[in-house]
């Protein structure tokens, strides 16, 4: 396993060949914000929060998808990048109904925490306030489209880890929606195995455990890594 060395924020760091910039940065204690990325899942590259500047490349690169190569000079926290990240969080907060005060995961939401971290204390764009449905037909879990940020973690978890391929994104653009099978209510899905992995992976309050109080809505994010490691070890 050959090593690759590069500069991140003018600091010499090293990582293994094939690792992404995000992984190398995080292994060296450099924090890059992400929402759609999750350790153990195939990177999606949709939320664009992990964009970084790479010297010699005109365009910004998504750290979760860009391979670390020898001798790169990467900057992860320039003023411009922080401004873009704040604006992306503002766009996400305005896109659907993220009313934290009355949300089932108030205090345990990655979007809420990221907004505070980046200093988004108000949203300058028009709130779209789309009238979106909720799906509580599933026995143990609920799906609230108002809180969904289309990060597709649930879609990837269901197809890559559980293999049931229940969830998929249907529609296009701003009208995209997470749907089960042929847009069936979750409770009537013929492929869902009720495993609840997607609920564990959801960054916001879109997928939640019914009956849990706000305080109990702590999700287990490293659960996925252990499943994947055990799977590798068992040689599957």
């Amino acid at each position: 396993m050959s090593v690759v060395t590069l500069y991140i924020n003018d600091r010499l760091v090293s990582g293994r060949v094939g690792q992404t910039l995000l992984k190398v940065a995080r292994e060296n204690g450099i924090e890059i914000p992400t929402l759609c990325y999750l350790e153990g899942l195939e990177p999606w590259g949709g939320c664009r929060l992990c964009m970084v500047e790479v010297e010699g490349q005109g365009k910004l690169q998504a750290a979760c998808l860009t391979e670390a190569r020898e001798g790169l000079a990467v900057h992860t926290d320039s003023e411009r990048l922080l401004a873009w990240r704040r604006m992306i969080v503002e766009l996400l907060l305005a896109e659907r109904n993220h009313t934290c005060a009355v949300c089932v995961v108030n205090g345990h939401c990655e979007l809420q925490a990221l907004a505070a971290k980046l200093g988004v204390d108000h949203v300058r764009y028009d709130y779209l306030h789309p009238a979106l449905a909720m799906d509580v037909s599933q026995e143990r879990f609920g799906l609230d489209h108002n809180r969904c940020i289309l990060c597709t973690r649930c879609v990837r978890t269901c197809s890559e880890i559980e293999g049931a391929c229940t969830w998929a994104i249907s529609g296009r653009g701003i009208t995209s929606r997470v749907t089960a099978d042929l847009d069936r209510p979750w409770g009537k899905s013929t492929t869902c195995t009720d495993c609840g992995k997607c609920v564990q992976m959801c960054p916001t309050g879109a997928l939640y455990k019914k009956g849990a109080t706000v305080g109990e809505m702590v999700r287990e994010k490293t659960h996925l890594q252990q499943v994947m490691e055990r799977r590798q070890r068992s040689g599957k």
Partner: protein
């Protein structure tokens, strides 16, 4: 706009389309209210029986979103007479619960509650003599006027308010810590 700290700071608090939770959180300052009143003159607000919004106010804390025509006009007046306008609480900052009605139409809302529902008050054009007309959409303050500082939270706990007021009293911009600027 630095505030001259020699004389007492003229402070006003206003309550638009909100639930007064933020004002109660302001009162949760408890003993620190004593220290506050040595530095501040409260010139307008639900706790003061001034009828008109006074001129030359240094700092105004505005709670609640802009939900009707009266709020809109009062907010314009506040902006005109206040040096620093602060959005206090999620309703003022994001529209929060008050803005939950934005998904639908005002006419449907009035019909559901008053024409077909249990509501007692008058409906249609004559209603406007008694009640201020509802805006088509509830708006956060900074979508209407320029806002100088934001204190998110529903309600923002008294620590955040104290930290913000401290900065304002020292004439510095409000810069809340990461854990003090979460919504919800």
């Amino acid at each position: 706009m630095t505030v001259v700290s020699a004389r007492k700071l003229r402070l006003a608090t206003v309550w638009l389309g909100g639930c007064s939770g933020c004002h109660m959180s302001l009162l949760d300052l408890d003993e620190r209210l004593m220290e506050l009143q040595t530095k501040v003159d409260l010139v307008y607000g639900p706790l003061v029986d001034a009828k008109e919004f006074p001129r030359e106010v240094d700092v105004t804390l505005v709670e609640g979103a802009v939900a009707n025509v009266d709020h809109l006009e009062l907010l314009e007046t506040i902006r005109g007479h206040s040096a620093i306008l602060v959005s206090l609480g999620d309703c003022a900052v994001t529209g929060n619960v008050t803005a939950l009605r934005n998904g639908g139409k005002v006419s449907d809302l009035l019909t559901t509650i008053y024409r077909a529902g249990p509501g007692r008050s008058p409906v249609g054009p004559e209603a406007v003599q008694a009640l201020p007309a509802l805006l088509p959409k509830v708006l956060p303050l900074h979508h209407v006027v320029d806002v100088d500082a934001f204190i998110p939270g529903c309600p923002p706990d008294s620590e955040r308010i104290w930290a913000a007021l401290g900065a304002l009293l020292r004439g510095e911009p409000v810069a809340l810590e990461e854990n003090q600027r979460t919504f919800g």
